[in-house]
Amino acid sequence: MTNSWTDIQNTDLVVIMGGNAAEAHPCGFKWVTEAKANRGAKLIVVDPRFTRSASVADFYAPIRQGTDIAFLLGVIKYCIDNDKVQWDYVKAFTNASYLVKDGFSYSDGLFVGYDESKRDYNRSEWDYQIGPDGYALVDETLQNPRCVWNLLKQHVAQYTPEMVERICGTPKDKFLKVAQMISETSSPQKAMTSMYALGWTQHSKGSQNIRSMAMLQLILGNIGIRGGGMNALRGHSNIQGLTDVGLMSNLIPGYLTIPTEREVDFQTYMGSRGFKPLRPNQMSYWQNYGKFFVSFQKAMWGSAATKDNNWAFEYLPKLDVPAYDMLRAFELMHEGKMNGYVCQGFNPLQSMPNKAKLIRGLSKLKYLITMDPLETETSRFWEKHGEINDVDPKSIQTEVIQLPTTCFAEDEGALVNSGRWLQWHWPGATPPGEAKHDTWIMAQIHLRLKALYAKEGGAFPDPIANLHWPYKDQGEPHPVEIAKELNGYVLETVYDPADPTKVVLEKGKQVAGFGVLRDDGTTACGCWIYSGCYTEAGNMMARRDNTDRDNTGAHPNWAFSWPANRRILYNRASADLDGKAWDPSRKLIEWDGTRWSGYDVPDIAPTAKPREVGPFIMNPEGVSRLFTRGMMREGPFPVHYEPFEAPIANVIAPKIRGNPVARVFKNDMTQFGDATEFPYAATSYRLTEHFHFWTKHVWVNAVLQPEFFVEISEELAREKSIQPGGWVRVWSKRGSIKAKAVVTKRIRPLICDGKPVHVVGIPLHWGFTGAAKEGFGPNALTPFVGDANIETPEFKAFLVNIEPTTPPAVA
């Protein structure tokens, strides 16, 4: 989230698209209710199903899953055509005026530079024209045909209301009503918030779904303001934190990146991370990359990271592929190229697509280690459970070690909510049996590995042997000790660069913020964006002062919000060019002639003059991007691509299947089904009574929603002679499941490109362990392909067939 849950009370219009907050984030959704009740805010829901959110919406429009980009580009076109643009914001705070290289072009669904054999682009033309001074060329009058604004206008021209209806199945009048309501928030006095979740991310072009809305929000001037923003509701309680701390193949905490093997040495690595400003005076905050990186290396390897060894650069593994995301991991497993796998609190057998492939992959491992508070299907993948898990244990040679861990009630530490609040919690219960903290288990593994290397030697033991391990009890690091490492501390007394007689911080002290971090080895910091969370003043994440001056929803003294306790990102953009709030009733920070101040921590240097320094300080441009240069793999503007399995061909580019740059592994291409054989558009979803596969272990929730089902329309039920509550078989090119049919009015057939399209809804929450009845879940059916930029699997749009059947055989 750019904003926070409590900030939603400040909005005038909520758009829930790609999510279902009333169902999946019930206690956060209350802030929508507040905005509706107290400010007369309106709620729009756009979804293939008439969801629980839709049931309390002011306006609902149906859409076929996987067509959100066409819809949103249609809304952008509507806003441009009807002059519903916050012009001052767009001109000053976006790259609308930047000139793009002459070689850049788009036609028939593809941008310039496409190489079909590589399923990739040469992106060199997707960039600005650079002047002799090294800065990007701009035309503030927006007259130049090569400026971003004119290219955008041209790019969205084909997404007319008629085209939107053809692709999305949204009736034109409903689309126009939504577009009109959204466009009204181009007024500086109106705010719109976008609330989305996995309904946007779980597509082969998920990143571009989100980007489309972000562009719309920029055009309307809704980013950086109270009641505005791009609000990723997120899923699990700490998925924000796990990502912040960089637990991904290509990340270093704080969104730094692991080197690739093309970056042959430290100098090359840093060379591509210079982030020189693209316009005069801009902060281009990533220029501090070196300070964050060196401080991270010091937190990892302490005195073993020195200037002479390039801060232990060689201790980091180097990537040979863009990422070893989990789709690739299971592909490697399936090919027999992996021997071991550790699942820490994660149940991939239920969570990942194409279950048959997952079982084959796991069966080829030599060893699988699971760490979880609860039984998981993954740890028992070798166990036969009737048709639901139809395996032969004898033929599976994988050794499985299942480790019991503590749960929330028994451990201590911080979780990061979707609004970026780091909230500390304390343990209140003794773990059952011999269950242990994850921190203890990880420490034990490390210490044993280290001891084995000390005794036996072996492959490059240095990074293991020298891992900085400053904990009082080596075998069980305390969460407070770790939180202090994440915050950062100084290794040597640090002096003010402007006045070397002035001590900034004495040796051994906790830093107050990332501004203190250095690239000379005098500071250490596990995760720079968390700096300020555990300072000399104590644990900021444990703060419990819920006062909220003037009811802005900021709650600045509650817990700690990264970065720097900032509650609304890009909040400089809440004020106009001269630093006065666009809307005085929505004041956030303002320029008083010398400084920025207000309700929130300014997202800009406190003394940075308006009209000089742009509000988007992380970007070398200083402004936000309507045109993303070469930063996204499928193009600088979003394009409508169909899901890999779609009921109709892509209307705007009939020859293109799916996202033309999404990575598809060789054998998976042949495992995509076509509409002739699999005519129905399926989507997976969640229920309010359940959370993933955990709550099926909880008696109350198992009683509330005991049994797996699929949801279909009355029309489809009639067509296929399916009885409400009767058993159906649903199958895709990859697998087959059985479920009871829930026949509802919540799903209606759509007309897309002149053809009726039936939607089949498949909830997620069942398996073969726990208190609920055994059930299949959707992932025996889902396709093994991910988003082209971050590899989120395409769970929300795939094809199936359906027929009435008999109940499945049980174990």
Partner: protein, 199 residues
């Protein structure tokens, strides 16, 4: 509303205060103390209360757990009750059907209690000690790492990577667990490393 203000102490004094003011106002000052002492203490006041957040979704509702026994005094603590934290700015005491049933998660029958090993070809888990499990894990990991560690790629560039064992991190563990995990996984040179951000 500061961190030190104990909700339990608040409930105690509020209980006595209500009795005191109501009766005192009617001029029955003398029986005030006797009456107050006759009121049975609210049951949860004998419990240890602990601030926590719901571990399910990223709304992160504040919760209060009530337990018999105090971990801070080195006692065993048994969860008795969980409710929404009315002081929390986001949920203000409310919980959804998941958060409201959290007690049954912590006490689920299918909570894991002991390390287990399933041998190749077996159809069951067998209980082992922590030492057995951890020694085995370290052995398996080290052998695999030593056999498959790539120090240099074909171009002679130092790459120091290990890709034959992977690590999937969770989504509900703390930042602190995450960082210790990061340190252990990365220092081993692992690249097949991911979390549950996407599913």
């Amino acid at each position: 509303m500061n961190m030190e203000l104990s909700r339990r102490a608040f409930l105690r004094s509020a209980g006595a205060g209500v009795a005191g003011t109501a009766i005192g106002a009617f001029g029955f000052g003398g029986i005030e103390a006797a009456h107050a002492s006759s009121i049975r203490a609210f049951k949860l006041t004998t419990m240890v209360e602990t601030r926590n957040t719901c571990p399910y979704c990223s709304v992160a509702c504040g919760i209060i757990t009530y337990s018999k026994g105090d971990l801070r005094k080195g006692e065993k603590a048994e969860l008795v009750h969980i409710e929404g934290d009315v002081d929390h700015p986001t949920n203000r005491g409310t919980l959804c059907p998941k958060g409201a049933a959290l007690l049954d998660f912590a006490k689920a029958e299918t909570r894991l209690k002991y390390p287990m090993i399933r041998k190749p070809g077996s159809d069951k888990f067998e209980r082992v000690s922590w030492d057995q499990a951890l020694d085995r894990i370290a052995r398996l990991m080290k052998d695999d790492r030593d056999q498959n560690f790539v120090a240099k790629n074909n171009d002679g560039v130092t790459v120091n990577r290990w890709t034959t064992t992977g690590f999937l991190a969770a989504s509900a563990t703390t930042n602190e667990t995450a960082f210790v995990t990061y340190k252990v996984v990365r220092s081993a040179g692992m690249l097949v490393f991911d979390n549950q951000a996407r599913v």
